[in-house]
């Protein structure tokens, strides 16, 4: 027998093997096919289903459901971003309470209460 004949004999046995698959495997394959076809027809809806946790055909460790890193990593990054933005505004923001406290404590220099330009303006207007 040449190479091709041997290969043909072997693949005949392999084809026989595909007809001996367990019912559960065939059912999983059917579900996977239907989900793929649904994705083909309505990509948005299937994504929604997967996020809602109804889209998993087979509960594998890297599926498309809400346990998928594709779903929760962006969520965690978003929450961290919001937290950092909030803290940053707390630290660097001009809080009116702080300004009032500084005024009451008398820590402002005296020039802060004076309008030096007012006297020169008065002089100029009286000359006219």
């Amino acid at each position: 027998m040449n190479e091709r004949d041997i290969a043909k004999k072997i693949t005949q046995h392999l084809n026989y093997g595909t007809n001996q698959l367990d019912r559960s495997v065939l059912e999983d394959l059917r579900s996977a096919r239907q989900r793929a076809l649904a994705a083909h027809a309505h990509p948005q809806q299937v994504f929604g289903m997967a996020v809602a946790g109804h889209g998993d055909v087979h509960s594998g460790h890297h599926g498309h459901g809400h346990h998928s890193p594709r779903f929760w990593i962006p969520l965690v990054v978003l929450l961290l971003g919001l937290l950092i933005a909030y803290n940053w505004s707390e630290i660097n923001g001009d809080d009116p309470d702080d300004v009032d406290a500084t005024l009451l404590a008398g820590e402002l220099p005296i020039n802060a209460y004076l309008d030096s330009d007012f006297k020169s303006w008065l002089d100029q207007s009286s000359r006219r």
């Binding site: 072997i10 093997g17 065939l26 394959l29 996977a32 096919r33 793929a36 087979h58």
Partner: protein
């Protein structure tokens, strides 16, 4: 000159998937030796084909699907490698506080549909030849198995197989020849006559 090609309908996509799903599952199972992982791989491959290439001409489906499937199998091994690395690193930091030695049998997890505890009658029903052949195919080096499956099982020609595998036609011929010779030798050793 612009060629006019007919784009696939949903019905044609469905027919194609029905036609290939069993062989795809077997291919993945021979590669990863785990039925659950194989189902995940086939599911991913079907989704990718439907989402990204579902409206391409039907003639392109076999090639596209095989490329996607082979990439999904490679992705599985990459993830497996990374996971194994982290497991090794983390396990090197862990230690047993009490110093008690654990019996591995106490923590051994047995899958519900493990082949070890299969019904003997079912085992008898299984064709012995098929089991030996599938075992031999599963033991082939990855590239040889890939070439053999695409060239002879999926009935692709040398050029198509080379394109699907991302290698030269010469490499395909070499891989196929080696695969057939290795399989023939393994089956002969097991007393299987084709």
């Amino acid at each position: 000159m612009i060629g006019i090609c007919k784009l696939a309908t949903e019905r044609e996509l469905s027919d194609f998937l029905i036609q290939v799903e069993r062989r795809a599952f077997k291919q993945a199972a021979y590669a990863v030796h785990d039925d659950h992982a194989a189902l995940d791989i086939v599911q991913d491959a079907m989704m990718r084909l439907a989402e990204k290439y579902g409206v391409r001409p039907v003639d392109e489906f076999p090639m596209l699907f095989q490329r996607i499937l082979q990439n999904a199998i490679r992705d599985y091994f990459r993830r497996h490698k990374v996971r194994a690395l982290w497991t090794t690193l983390l396990s090197s930091f862990s230690f047993n506080k009490d110093g008690d030695e654990q019996d591995p049998l106490e923590t051994l997890e047995v899958e519900s549909d493990s082949n070890y505890f299969e019904n003997p009658a079912r085992q008898l029903d299984r064709a012995q030849t098929l089991a030996v052949i599938e075992d031999a195919v599963g033991k082939l080096p990855a590239r040889q198995r890939e070439a053999f499956v695409l060239r002879y099982w999926e009935d692709m020609d040398v050029a198509e197989t080379a394109e699907a595998m991302g290698c030269s036609e010469g490499s395909v011929k070499t891989h196929c020849s080696r695969a057939v010779h290795t399989l023939a030798a393994m089956l002969k050793n097991k007393g299987v006559k084709l």
